[in-house]
Symmetry: C2
Subunit: 211 residues, 2 copies
DNA sequence: CGTACTTTTGAATCGCATCAAATCTGGTGG
DNA sequence: CCACCAGATTTGATGCGATTCAAAAGTACG
C-alpha cells in the first residue's frame, strides 16, 4: 500500500462534507492485504474506489464464510459506532481505497444534519441490498441464485466476475465447482454469456423482478 | 385494528425526540393484517411493540420468500426515504404496533442531530443483524442454521418460536418438514429443548460464536 | 360438528457438497 | 527463455441431506 492520490473519489466527495475531504487518504492496496480483523477497533472507514474487498468470518469448522463482497463504496458501514469489528476485511483484487477517520465523521454529523441524512440514505441502500442478498440465499438452486444476482445487482444483466469465480461462488454461498457447472450449463442453454470477466444474462426470460 | 393506547413504548420513546411522541398512534393489529404491500408509498413507519410481522416477497414461482421476521422494533427501516415499498408487510400474530409519520421523522432529523445519530445507531444494528442472517443462510444444513439462530439471536440460547414453526422455517429458508425433523432429531440427541413456545439450546457444545 | 390450518410422519427424487484429479494460468527464479 | 510452482479452473464419481409429494393426526375457531 503506497500513498498515491490526494484526489477524493467523486461519489465519496458528494457524500462527505467539504471539510472532511482534506482528511481522506487514498492508497493503492495489493491483493491479499487486510484492512482489519475480527476484534480490531474501528478507527477509519474504508471507501473502495475500485477493486474488490470481502468481509468474511471463520465458520466453526474453519471454513471462511463470505458476508459481503464489495467493489465500490464503504466497507463495513455498520462499524461507525462499533467498539470492535465482527468480521475480517480482506482485499481480493488490486484496489484503490480511501480512508476517512471515524472521529471526524462523527464530529461532522453532530453539526451537519444534511450529512447525517446522506449517511442514512447510504445505510438504507445497504439495508435493501442485504435484504436482497438474504432473498437470494434463500433460493436453493445455484441457477436461481445466480440469475437473482444478475437481475438485482447487474447492470443491464451484466455482472463482473471480479477476482475469480471462486469469490463469486463464496458470495452466492455455493461451492465453486457447483458454480462452474451451473455457468457451463446455462451457457449451453443460451441463457448466459461469459466474456471479458463479465457474466451477461441473455434475455430469454424477462422475469426481472425490479428492485 | 383499534385505537388503544396513547402511551408510546419505552424503547421507541427513547429513540424519538419528545416532540414526536404526540404524533405516534398505537393500535392492536390482528393476525393476518397487512401493514403495506409492494408498491405502496411509505407514509408512516411501523414500530412493533409486541407481536410478530414478516416482510415477504413473492418469488418467481409464486412462493413467498420471507425477507425478515420481526417481533420488536421498526419494520422496514430502509423505507424512510423510499418512494415505494419493495416487499409486503404482514402481521402474523396479534400485535401492538405504533405508527409514526415519516415526514415528521424527517423534519425532526433535520433539526436534531442527536436524533439522527440514534437513528444511525439503529440502522447499524439492523445491518449487523442482516449480515448475521446472510451468514446463517450460507450454512447448508438445517441444524447449523438453527443453532446459528439460537446462538446469535437467542436470549441465553432460548428463542421464541413465535407464530408457529412454519414461519420459523421460512425465516431459516428451509421447508417446515425439514425443520420439524431437525428439531425432533436434536431433541432426541439432547441438544435442544422445546417448551412453552421456546426453543432452548442445551449446553452440549459451547461453540457460541459471540457477536 | 365441521372447516381450516398446523403439526407430524413417510417415501422417492434431485441437486449440491464432497473428494479426487487433471488442466490451465500467471508469476518467479534459474 | 524455460522450468517450475501456487493457485485457479475444469471435469468426474459418489453420497448425503433437503426438497417434494402425499397423507394422517392434531388443534383452534366459529
Amino acid at each position: 500500500m503506497s500513498q498515491l492520490l490526494t484526489e477524493v473519489p467523486q461519489e465519496l466527495a458528494e457524500l462527505l462534507p467539504a471539510g472532511l475531504h482534506a482528511l481522506c487518504q487514498t492508497s493503492a492496496y495489493k491483493k491479499g492485504a487486510r484492512l482489519f480483523a475480527v476484534g480490531d477497533k474501528p478507527v477509519v472507514m474504508f471507501f473502495i474506489g475500485s477493486g474488490e474487498v470481502v468481509l468474511e468470518r471463520q465458520g466453526i469448522h474453519g471454513e471462511s464464510i463470505v458476508l459481503q463482497r464489495s467493489r465500490h463504496g464503504f466497507v463495513g458501514e455498520a462499524s461507525l459506532r462499533s467498539a470492535r469489528y465482527h468480521c475480517d476485511g480482506r482485499v481480493t483484487a488490486p484496489s484503490e481505497i480511501t480512508r476517512v477517520p471515524i472521529r471526524d465523521i462523527q464530529a461532522a454529523m453532530a453539526s451537519d444534519p444534511a450529512f447525517s441524512t446522506r449517511w442514512i440514505g447510504m445505510l438504507n441502500r445497504e439495508l435493501k441490498r442485504l435484504r436482497l442478498q438474504c432473498e437470494r440465499l434463500s433460493l436453493n438452486r445455484v441457477q436461481d441464485r445466480l440469475m437473482h444476482l444478475l437481475e438485482t445487482e447487474g447492470q443491464q444483466g451484466s455482472y463482473p466476475i471480479g477476482s475469480g469465480v471462486k469469490s463469486l461462488a463464496a458470495e452466492l454461498g455455493v461451492t465453486h465447482e457447483a458454480l462452474y457447472r451451473c455457468v457451463l450449463d446455462m451457457e449451453k442453454k443460451g441463457l448466459l454469456l461469459r466474456e471479458r470477466g463479465q457474466l451477461k444474462l441473455l434475455t430469454g426470460a424477462p422475469g426481472a423482478c425490479g428492485q
